[in-house]
C-alpha cells in the first residue's frame, strides 16, 4: 500500500480534476436541464418537440459516443474542440442535462392533479399556483433523483480518461504503468477516491428521500 502514500500528490491532482469536472458539468447540466424541462412542459409545440428529441437522443446514446463525436467527428466539420477539460465538460453536461430534465419532469408530474385544482378553486392565479403549491412539492421529490444523477455524473467523469483528460482514472492508469508490480493497490486507491464522492452522496440521497417521503 506504500504506492498509494508515495503517489498521494498524483492521486490528489487527479481527484481534484474529477471534482472540478463534476462540479462544472453538474452546474451547466442543471441549468440546461431545467431549461429543457421548462421547454418540455411549455405550451409551444416546436419547443416541446425540440426538447423531447434532444432528451430522447441523448438518453439513448452512450456517453462514449458523445465524447467520440466531439473528439474525432466534430473536427471534420471544422469544429475544433479543445482537447481536455472543456471537451469533457461539454460532453458530460450535454449528456447529463437530458437526465436532469427527466428527473425534474417526473418530479413535476408526481404532484397530484388535485393540488393544482384545489389551488385554482380557492382563486390563486397561475403564478401563485406554481410558486406556492406545485413547485415546493415538486422540489422535495426531485432532490433525491437529482442527487443520483450527479452521483452518476461523478462516476461518468471517468470516461474522460479515454479522451485525453487527466482525471482520477487516467492518473491511476499512469501510476499503474509506472508501478506494474503494484497495479492492484494502485487501482484500489483510485476506487477509494471515487467512493469518497459516491458513498456520502448516496447516503445523503437516502436520508433526504426518507425525510421528504409523505403519503400522496
Amino acid at each position: 500500500m506504500d504506492v498509494i502514500v508515495d503517489n498521494f500528490p498524483a492521486y490528489l491532482a487527479g481527484f481534484s480534476m474529477t471534482l472540478r469536472l463534476t462540479v462544472v458539468s453538474g452546474v451547466i447540466a442543471l441549468i440546461w436541464g431545467l431549461v429543457l424541462a421548462a421547454l418540455r412542459v411549455s405550451p409551444i409545440t416546436p419547443l416541446r418537440a425540440f426538447s423531447t428529441v434532444y432528451v430522447e437522443l441523448l438518453r439513448n446514446t452512450p456517453l462514449t459516443l458523445v465524447f467520440f463525436f466531439l473528439v474525432f467527428v466534430a473536427p471534420q466539420f471544422g469544429l475544433l474542440a479543445p482537447l481536455g477539460f472543456w471537451t469533457a465538460v461539454i460532453a458530460l453536461s450535454a449528456y447529463t442535462s437530458a437526465f436532469v430534465c427527466e428527473a425534474v419532469r417526473s418530479g413535476i408530474n408526481s404532484v397530484g392533479l388535485g393540488q393544482a385544482e384545489a389551488a385554482r378553486a380557492i382563486g390563486l392565479t397561475f403564478g401563485q399556483t406554481l410558486s406556492m403549491v406545485i413547485l415546493p412539492q415538486a422540489v422535495r421529490t426531485v432532490i433525491p433523483p437529482l442527487i443520483n444523477v450527479f452521483i452518476a455524473l461523478a462516476k461518468n467523469t471517468s470516461v474522460a480518461s479515454g479522451f485525453a483528460t487527466v482525471e482520477l482514472m487516467a492518473a491511476g492508469r499512469r501510476l499503474g504503468t509506472q508501478n506494474p508490480a503494484e497495479i492492484i493497490p494502485v487501482l484500489i486507491g483510485v476506487a477509494c477516491f471515487y467512493l469518497l464522492i459516491t458513498i456520502p452522496a448516496g447516503i445523503s440521497a437516502g436520508v433526504i428521500e426518507r425525510k421528504v417521503a409523505f403519503a400522496r
Binding site: S42, F50, V149
Partner: protein, 284 residues
C-alpha cells in the same frame, strides 16, 4: 398537467399560443437551417464524403464496410452484452436474496458488495480486470458490466420486494410455507414482475456501457467506426459516425419501447404500480 394550472384558454390566449408556436417553430427551424448551411459550407453533404457507404474507395465493396460495422462491430457489442446480461441477472438475484437474510452478519457481505460495486465507475472495474488481473479486453468488458449491473439489479429487486404488500408474506406464513418457500414462490415472482420495466431499462444501460470497451481496447462498434475512418480517410468520419450512432439509437430505443410496452401490460393486472426509474448509466 399544465392544463389544470390555467383556466381553459380563451380566444386571446389561444391566439397568443398560436403566435408563440409559429415564432418558436421559426427559431428552431432557423437554428437547424443554420447548422445545415454551416455543414454544407464545410462540404459535409458532398457525395465524396459519403460514398464509403455505397461505393467505397481502395478496392473495397460496400458490403465490406457494412459487414465490418454491423456484423463485427455491433456483433462484438452485442456479444459482450449478451454474456454480461444473464450473468448480472443471476448474480443480482443471488445478492438480492442474500441481502434479505435475517441475521445481520450473514447479510453484511452482500450489503458491502452492493454498496462497493454500485459506487464505482464501470470503467474502473474494467481496468481492474484488464490491468489488475491481466485479462483480455473482451473478458474485462464482460467483468466490468457484470459486477456493476449485478449490484444495480439486486437493488432493483430489493425495491421490488419492498414494494409488495405485507399481506403477501403474512398469508404465505399463515398457510405454513417456510421463509425460503415464501421468498421463492410468493414474493420473488411478484417482485420480478413489477420491476420488469426497470430491469429492461437497466439492460439498455448495460448495452450502452458496453461502448466503454472502446477505451479499454475492445474492438466493438465505436472501434469499427474509428478503424474504418483510419483506413478510408478521416473525411469519411462523419458518414461512418452517422451510421454507428444510428445503430446505437435504433437498438436502444427499441429496447426502451419494449420496457414501456411491458410496463403497460403488467400494470394493467399487477397490483402495485412502480414507476420506471429514470435510469442513467451509473445512477444509483
Amino acid at each position: 398537467m399544465s392544463s389544470v394550472l390555467y383556466d381553459a384558454p380563451g380566444p386571446l390566449t389561444r391566439r397568443r399560443e398560436r403566435i408563440g408556436s409559429i415564432l418558436g417553430g421559426l427559431v428552431v427551424l432557423a437554428l437547424v437551417g443554420l447548422a445545415l448551411w454551416y455543414a454544407a459550407g464545410r462540404g459535409v453533404f458532398e457525395a465524396d464524403r459519403w460514398d464509403v457507404l455505397y461505393d467505397p474507395p481502395k478496392n473495397q465493396t460496400a458490403e465490406d464496410v457494412w459487414t465490418s460495422m454491423v456484423v463485427r462491430g455491433l456483433g462484438a457489442t452485442l456479444r459482450a452484452a449478451a454474456l454480461a446480461a444473464p450473468l448480472a441477472l443471476v448474480l443480482g438475484l443471488i445478492l438480492a436474496l442474500w441481502r434479505t437474510a435475517q441475521r445481520r452478519w450473514i447479510r453484511l457481505p452482500a450489503v458491502v458488495v452492493i454498496e462497493l460495486f454500485r459506487g464505482l465507475p464501470v470503467l474502473l472495474m474494467m481496468f481492474f480486470a484488464l490491468l489488475g488481473f491481466g485479462w483480455d479486453a473482451f473478458n474485462a468488458v464482460v467483468f466490468g458490466l457484470t459486477v456493476y449491473n449485478m449490484a444495480i439489479i439486486s437493488e432493483i429487486l430489493r425495491a421490488g420486494l419492498a414494494s409488495l404488500p405485507k399481506g403477501q408474506a403474512e398469508a404465505a406464513y399463515a398457510v405454513g410455507l417456510t421463509r425460503t418457500q415464501t421468498l421463492l414462490s410468493i414474493l420473488l415472482p411478484q417482485a420480478v414482475r413489477t420491476m420488469l420495466p426497470s430491469l429492461i431499462s437497466q439492460l439498455v444501460v448495460l448495452l450502452k456501457d458496453s461502448s466503454l470497451g472502446f477505451i479499454v481496447g475492445y474492438a466493438e462498434l465505436l472501434k469499427s467506426i474509428q478503424n474504418n475512418a483510419q483506413f478510408f480517410g478521416n473525411e469519411y468520419f462523419i458518414a461512418l459516425f452517422v451510421i454507428g450512432a444510428s445503430i446505437y439509437l435504433i437498438v436502444n430505443i427499441a429496447l426502451s419501447r419494449l420496457a414501456v410496452w411491458i410496463q403497460r401490460r403488467t400494470t394493467r393486472t399487477a397490483a402495485p404500480v412502480v414507476p420506471v426509474a429514470v435510469t442513467m448509466p451509473g445512477s444509483i
